[in-house]
Amino acid sequence: MNKLTLWFHTLGSPPYFHRLAGRLAPWLFAGAVLFAAAGLYGGLVVAPPDYQQSDAYRIIFVHVPSAWMSLFIYFVMAVNAFIALVWRIKLAEVLAMACAPIGAAFTVITLATGAIWGKPMWGTWWTWDARLTSELVLLFLYLGVIGLYQAIEDRRQAARAAAFLALIGIVNVPIVHFSVKWWNTLHQGSTVRLLGPSAIDASMLWPLLLVALATKLWFVASLLVRARVELLALEGGKEWARAEAQRAEGTP
């Protein structure tokens, strides 16, 4: 066995992953907070007001990275779901299921901040435009995955069923997006338009990228922490999990 496959097999072992994730997560969280603070400082303080939207555009510094993450996390979840279904790796199941709540959180942020941005810019909290509608459908997909995972008693079976649903969903998202787009051209109803992709100034770009990096780190950190807990619950009967429980006795 070559080194890489060996490493993968070691990584897939729950006690090893538990230990590694526990060591990595705090650093990743710290990095995420640091980058987010720098990015938000750059976005909210340093960057000049937009000539059209004045200061309201500053919402994009939290909105756009969250929107990227909502799609990115779904993709990560689907990849893990695929691995879980094809090779039946326990860690992949756990990771896929740990993705869902984080993705739902970022989708909620995207929808809420998008609505808040839309009110002063478009004069309305919500329009039935392709991006907004597919984001809403994405939230339903996340909630469906979480709901299905919670509803089935047997944890492994629940993870596999929810993973299957996640895979169906990833086919569905682009279909919804394009169908709503087509539907909008038919209706011709709303005259409010998403702002044209005006070339973004460098003073606005770097804070945006920093916050995006911060959300990526946050996702990985949160994923590791959630996967750790899930593994502990799954492997409750095993020796390492019991040892972990005893070790955590004193510390809160």
Partner: protein, 227 residues
């Protein structure tokens, strides 16, 4: 031990399901009754103005049919799961997707076809213009099997649960959105005097794709939830 051919197994399953639903033939009217109630509520809520009702008629009928189908989805595997038939189907030597396809076909025949047949009545209640009615029926004829096929995949995932109603709706809704958009789009276009063939063709293409893929996905899902 000898098994029959896959075709004979499918026919046996079709016969059995049809016979079972014939013995409980009153149930077939439930979805129609439900759609009728929903459609009745709209004029009561919005006022009896014919122009206003005509404008939303196609959309209301489609949504009513969609929800009626959603409520009926639960019965697709319920009985077979409870008496163990479903497990036997999964264990049988015949291709599971084919067997499931015949089950879905019967389910569509007894829950969705009555809805399509009742569409003219629902349309009349909401003053749908007469020239839009054929488009609505065509859209329903293409959309309802699509809804049944997509719904079957989700039902297969929730089959072992006792109270799956709300969860099933949550799982199915994202899959139903494009179908609803295209079906309503065809009716809207017809009502506005625009060409309405394109969305119908899209529905047809999706139906062809789902006819092949949905039974396979349904079988895979069922194998996950029945272990």
């Amino acid at each position: 031990m000898r098994y029959g051919t896959a075709a004979s197994a499918c026919f046996a399953l079709l016969r059995r399901d049809l016979l079972l639903s014939w013995r409980r033939r009153g149930d077939a009217l439930n979805p129609v009754l439900f759609a009728l109630i929903v459609v009745t509520l709209f004029p009561l809520a919005l006022g009896p103005e014919p122009n206003q009702l005509a404008r939303i008629a196609a959309g209301v009928i489609l949504v009513a049919v969609l929800i009626a189908g959603l409520l009926a989805l639960d019965t697709l595997f319920r009985g077979d799961y409870e008496d163990g038939t479903l497990e036997q189907l999964v264990l049988s030597p015949h291709p599971l997707p084919l067997l499931l396809a015949s089950k879905i076909l019967v389910h569509w025949l007894i829950t969705a076809v009555p809805l399509v047949l009742a569409a003219p009545l629902l349309a009349a209640m909401l003053y749908l213009p007469a020239d839009v009615l054929p488009v609505l029926i065509a859209a329903l004829a293409l959309a309802t099997p699509l809804l049944s096929l997509l719904g079957a995949v989700c039902v297969a995932l929730t089959v072992g649960m006792r109270r799956s109603g709300m969860l099933l709706a949550l799982l199915v809704l994202p899959l139903y959105v494009p179908v609803l958009i295209f079906a309503a789009g065809a009716c809207d276009a017809a009502q506005a005097g625009l060409p309405f063939v394109a969305p119908l063709l899209w529905l047809g293409a999706a139906l062809a794709l789902a006819l092949v893929l949905a039974p396979l996905a349904c079988a895979a899902a069922l194998r996950i939830s029945i272990t």
